[in-house]
């Protein structure tokens, strides 16, 4: 994303708003933007989703390949998660090899999904040591107005939950849903004007400090955490957003379940 010249005026403005406990677009501190979740929207993908959070828009697509299991795990298939933010998504994203920003984005979203154990890689094995399914989840940003992390994570788990193994195309039995046992969901908090807010938009990201990404699974289990960017926070600050994350993740999880059940 290059090095944006963080405008001091923007920081000052956001700090002033924070003092009055308000945000530049009128939202409450822990209020998210308008959210749209669409499932099965990509004709060529075996599972897919589109998420819109305010002016942030992303797609997730699931494809399958046949792989040879790794020698030390002969009974397992694989899960690969790749996140791309191409220049289409905003003025600040440049072409070229993946930036540290996009590497972090992909790895944090990947860990949240992978570490929840939602995909049983043993069920992906077809012939031990010889043949297994590899699940490939591709996250693709179309418009970045902030908080790509949460948008990617939600689109990602939604695409996986809607995915169907294309067994017939590979002539190995009947198509069947990819079993996804759990529903990890991410909530991200940015420090803006000295306090953490939920679902920061681009202006808040530019004028803010550190961010914390929390992925929670069923029963409030923690699956992944990441603090990004320069900044110092206290245990008390962390406790506050962890409490918030528990209720917000539950809310997003039930939205997703609704969509998957066909509204």
């Amino acid at each position: 994303m290059g090095i944006p010249l963080v405008p001091k005026l923007l920081r000052a403005h956001l700090a002033e708003l924070a003092e009055n406990d308000s945000r530049h677009d009128g939202r409450g501190r822990f209020e998210g933007r308008d959210l749209e979740l669409e499932i099965d929207c990509l004709e060529r993908a075996e599972g897919s989703a589109r998420v819109r959070m305010g002016d942030t828009i992303v797609y997730a697509g699931v494809k399958f390949q046949i792989m040879t299991p790794y020698p030390d795990r002969p009974n397992e298939g694989g899960l690969m998660c790749s996140a791309e933010v191409r220049p289409v998504a905003g003025r600040g994203w440049e072409p070229g090899p993946p930036s540290p920003e996009s590497i972090e984005l992909g790895r944090v979203v990947d860990r949240g999904i992978r570490e929840s154990g939602c995909i049983n890689v043993e069920e992906l094995c077809l012939i031990p040591g010889e043949k297994a399914w590899q699940v490939i989840l591709d996250l693709f940003a179309i418009s970045d107005d902030g908080n790509l992390f949460d948008a990617f994570a939600l689109a990602g788990i939604a695409a996986l939950k809607s995915a169907v193994l294309p067994a017939e195309r590979y002539e190995i039995g009947e198509d069947r849903p990819l079993g996804v046992a759990k529903t990890p969901v991410m909530c991200s908090y940015h420090k803006v004007g000295g306090r953490f807010v939920y679902d920061a938009d681009k202006r808040e990201e530019l004028g803010g400090d550190e961010r914390i990404h929390i992925t929670l699974g069923d029963d409030d289990h923690v699956h992944s955490l990441q603090k990004g960017l320069k900044g110092i926070f206290t245990a008390a600050e962390f406790d506050e957003i962890m409490v918030e994350a528990r209720s917000k993740c539950a809310e997003l999880r039930s939205l997703l379940d609704q969509k998957l059940a066909g509204e």
Binding site: E43, R44, I57, V62, S82, E84, V88, I142, S143, D145
Partner: protein, 238 residues
């Protein structure tokens, strides 16, 4: 152009697998403003093709060595999303994408009034979200609409369409099976007001007569596509 005869793409009545006649184009819809953070954008659905084009700029061209004293440079990228095709596409360097980006940029440079913005850069991003033959044509067409939506002055928009040959029959606007099993593909970029050309490629095998027939199909498809483009910019559907 595979030339494999085992799929029957056209029946004895001249009806194609998707129900079209040989001279008919696939259904089209165009929408603008689909990338809210961009200066202009358009989404074109054309058959199963789903293509997004976004425009950023004019902005300062940097590094300075890419600047041109007398005009803006067009920085065009054509890219297929990894999930846009049956077999996943690996992200990264790709010779096909580079070539399509180059010829697309050259087609658009032929109509954008770049001399109005010396030393600046206009970024055009074309993303193929779902692919079904003819993505380069859909990309050029969508990019024209996105440029207009961004308010970039142009002498005309570019309408792009490809006709070709399947089982030795010339057909208009190839679909996926026809592209896979067909014997020739002739994509063109045409200015709807003058009928002049800014883009032309072809590969396969066409006799002189077949070539003329495919050319004429493309020319004939221009006005209906153009209507969709104009309607999308006016805020309605054609």
């Amino acid at each position: 152009m595979g030339g494999y005869g085992d799929v029957q793409c056209i029946d004895e009545n001249g009806i194609r697998l998707d129900g079209r006649t040989v001279g008919e184009i696939r259904p089209i819809s165009i929408e603008v403003g689909v990338v809210p953070v961009a200066d202009g954008s358009a989404r074109m659905r054309w058959g199963l093709n789903d293509v997004i084009a976004a425009v950023y700029g004019p902005m300062e061209a940097h590094p300075r060595k890419i600047q041109r004293q007398d005009r803006a440079v067009l920085d065009v990228r054509y890219n297929m999303a990894p999930f846009s095709t049956t077999d996943r596409i690996r992200p990264g360097f790709n010779r096909r994408s580079r070539e399509i980006s180059k010829v697309t940029a050259e087609a658009l440079e032929s109509v954008v009034l770049t001399e109005l913005y010396p030393r600046s850069k206009i970024r055009v991003e074309i993303e193929i979200i779902c692919a079904e033959a003819g993505t380069r044509c859909a990309g050029i067409t969508a990019a024209s609409v996105a440029l207009a939506h961004a308010g970039i002055p142009m002498s005309d928009m570019v309408v792009s369409v490809a006709s070709g040959k399947v089982h030795d029959i010339v057909v208009c606007d190839l679909n996926k099976e026809e592209d896979n099993y067909g014997e020739a593909d002739l994509p063109m970029g045409i200015l709807p007001n003058s009928g002049e050309l800014v883009f032309l490629q072809m590969d396969g095998d066409l006799s002189p007569e077949q070539f003329q027939e495919a050319w004429d199909y493309n020319m004939g498809a221009v006005s209906v596509i153009h209507e969709h483009m104009v309607a999308a910019l006016k805020g309605g559907e054609a």
